[in-house]
Symmetry: C2
Subunit: 463 residues, 2 copies
């Protein structure tokens, strides 16, 4: 008989009909008169209850069906007698696909996330991680749907690169040189490396994304990026996924509209499509989760300049607010703590901060007429701080070259990038969203290692 997914079995009211479910046992309660087996197949956070008359089945077989075992259950769909579910299954036939020995690491409920991180290959079978990764999937779908519906093209920028993008951070080297041989020979001969030169893993697809946008009009990347920073924090991964849209002919105001519309779309998608999982996380992880998501969708984002933001922070200090990192003078970089103060305490809604001092931002950002500030459009979120970093790009070739030279960068490395300004240059802009930051926000999880299936961090590349 064709398998019915648990998510479909639970909303089916065709009582009396025979159905087959297949899945993993979440719990098995036995009594003399009746056994209850809760079966989950990953299609929903909810389990379907399989009700068993122990007289009809082999006792040894039943005893073997412990938490984590995998079974098929066929039987009659009936209206549930229990609370919180509409239907359950009166078992007529059970097949055990796989038993589960008692050393199953996800056996006990309520294990710490730290414990579960050691079993990254098994934690996927728990309620929390099921919910997190169904939501992660939904956010990816929302992102693709949003951009597709708005005429953006998904654009694959390279992972292995010979360029250093924006000097955004420490890079991993990619090589086919035999390191033992390098050590023995006493020299590094890049001519013998796969690409004939030194190559690394990308830290951002933006510069290549601009090549796409200035040809196809509007593109977005959605791919892995890498930072070889030795940061053991709940905020850092060595391998993470980024979304980087780039749009020709967009100005600063339109870019802010795009950012706000886009991120609200994603959050609304979660509220509309991940109700059961969000309710679970709201109950178990963060009691204010759904309320926070709803308020982000409802409120219009504050738009304020860096200078205005700095004034607010200085006023707060004057009124006695204590920050861990001091609020000094115009030109300082804001920390996550400062951003969160503006969002969580001052405005109580998301902020798009604009017109940062040019010196603290990347070389490709367009300067305002004042010569001091640039046309940035960062989105600051509750709990997260900066969730989106965006800007209009400098489209003037001479200005861009000057900026590169002033910063002591090597112009020759950027010839292909500068060609976009040399040949038919156009005004354009774009932004970057760290996918895992979005997932942290939408799930209420605290540690970034818990929102990616297999985290890569210093000394950790398991599975």
């Amino acid at each position: 008989m064709k398998r019915t997914k648990v998510v479909d079995a639970l909303c089916c009211t065709d009582f009396g009909k025979d159905i087959t479910v297949k899945g993993w046992v979440r719990s098995h309660r036995s009594s003399k008169a009746v056994d209850f087996i809760a079966v989950n197949d990953g299609s929903t956070i909810k389990n379907v209850q399989v009700v068993i008359n122990p007289e009809k089945f082999d006792a040894d077989m039943l005893r073997g069906i412990t938490t984590g075992a995998c079974i098929r259950a066929t039987g009659k769909l009936v209206e549930s007698q229990g609370k919180g579910q509409t239907s359950e299954i009166q078992a007529e036939d059970i097949e055990v696909y796989g038993l589960c020995p008692s050393d199953y690491p996800m056996q006990k409920k309520g294990q710490s996330f730290e414990y579960m991180r050691q079993y990254g290959h098994m934690r996927l079978r728990t309620n929390t991680f099921g919910a997190v990764f169904r939501i992660r999937h939904n956010m990816a779908i929302a992102i693709h749907k949003y951009f597709h519906d708005h005429g953006f093209y998904y654009f694959h920028t390279p992972i292995i690169t010979a360029s250093d993008a924006e000097g955004a951070g420490e890079m991993f080297q990619v090589t086919t040189l035999d390191l033992d041989r390098v050590a023995k020979s006493g020299q590094v001969d890049y001519d013998r490396d796969f690409f004939g030169k030194k190559t690394s893993l990308t830290v951002s697809g933006q510069l290549e994304g601009e090549l796409g946008a200035t040809a196809l009009g509007a593109i977005y990347t959605f791919g892995p990026t890498f930072r070889a920073e030795n940061s053991n924090t709940p905020r850092h991964l060595a391998e993470f996924w980024m979304i980087e849209p780039e749009v020709a002919f967009i100005d600063q105001e339109e870019l802010m509209d795009l950012e706000e519309d886009f991120i609200k779309y994603c959050v609304r998608w979660a509220l509309d499509n991940c109700k059961d999982d969000l309710e679970f996380l709201n109950k178990m992880i963060d009691k204010s989760l759904i309320q926070t998501l709803e308020s982000v969708v409802k409120e219009s984002f504050v738009r304020l300049t860096y200078t205005e933001g700095l004034n607010i922070l200085q006023e707060a200090v004057n009124k006695g607010h204590k920050f861990e990192f001091p609020v000094t003078e115009w030109g300082m970089d804001l920390s996550s703590e400062h951003e969160r103060y503006l969002v969580e305490e001052h405005f109580k809604r998301p902020v798009i901060m604009t017109d940062y001092p040019a010196e603290i931002k990347a070389f490709y950002m367009k300067r305002n007429a004042d010569g001091k500030t640039m046309q940035g459009t960062d989105v600051l979120f509750p709990r997260i701080g900066e969730i989106i970093g965006g800007s209009v790009r400098e489209e003037n070739l001479d200005k861009l070259v000057r900026e590169i030279e002033d910063r002591g960068m090597d112009k020759n490395c950027y010839n292909w990038y500068l060609d976009t300004r040399k040949y038919g240059s156009c005004p354009h802009g774009g932004f970057g969203l760290g996918f895992e930051r979005l997932i942290l926000f939408v799930t209420g999880m605290q540690n970034i290692r818990d929102v990616i299936p297999f985290a890569r961090t210093p000394r950790n590349a398991e599975f």
Copy 2:
């Protein structure tokens, strides 16, 4: 005035209204009485014609508007007098965003693909590559939509890995060790490397994908994979994108149904959503393109075993057909030439080949009861050969361990993978699709370097 995309301007019949388009000049023809500027903004392969009365504009400005320049044109939308387009724009105002010097590498029409590969950052602005990358986008969207609609979760498997997946090929090493220092010190100390051990770029996400499927029920990956093979052919890339669905509780028959339904969905999506681009490619690249795509959607795929396939090939040889690679005996691996003979000449439609000799396939594939063959489900396509490689996976722990040991692989490297069979094992299967192979098929392009924005091949990591 708000910008109208060229794709929208061309199908707008609201004649007489003022509109603004922005884009790059594809051609500029001048005469005394009138100038025609064809403008493209990447939203469609078609250009919108801007009609100019030269008396109304500065002659120097007009002369500057050469192929590749970027402009804004505002004017009245009128019914086109020319053939092949419905509307055009009578320019009232023109702004030049960026001129285009005469050394613009994409100036001339009809350049070879080889020439254009050297200008990977500029070729995106040509008709052919615009068409290819709009189709590539559409195939990605079709893939996400198909799996989302069928209850699969998008699952990010790791890019940096300490495991060798299936021994599928040569791997790139990823390191933060300073190679110059390694050379000087005369030794490689992996304890000082970022992950504290030797790590590489993934060759496949399948094994981690199985972890997802045996928890969430059905997942798919869609991410970059890497092979450090020194193959300079039109078929090989060092960095390419793979789609790898994995499904719990699927049998061989259902897996074949999934593969056929999935790939037909993608091809149908192209026919339905990429009409203009396909018509262009059908005209310029492959006159049988659309017909081939249509036939794949219409015909049901032949399902035959390796043994039956081999018999057909041997019969062909007996009848005088000459293959470059000899057809020898049962157990030989088929080459692309053999696969294409079956598909293109014998059956004249796609083939799903099953039950290969277990020895020529990977360790994780489920053996049939005969002990000799395995439950494979490869899809063979015209022009491409194998486009999908799939199989039911071995779910029995003991059999899988024996297979690993028989092949001389190190069981300890697979402990996490084997845990899926130890704890609640379930029947499951899946397949892999090389994204660029699909794009080759759907676009009619001949060289895989021309269907990915920035190709990585031996000695080539530009941009």
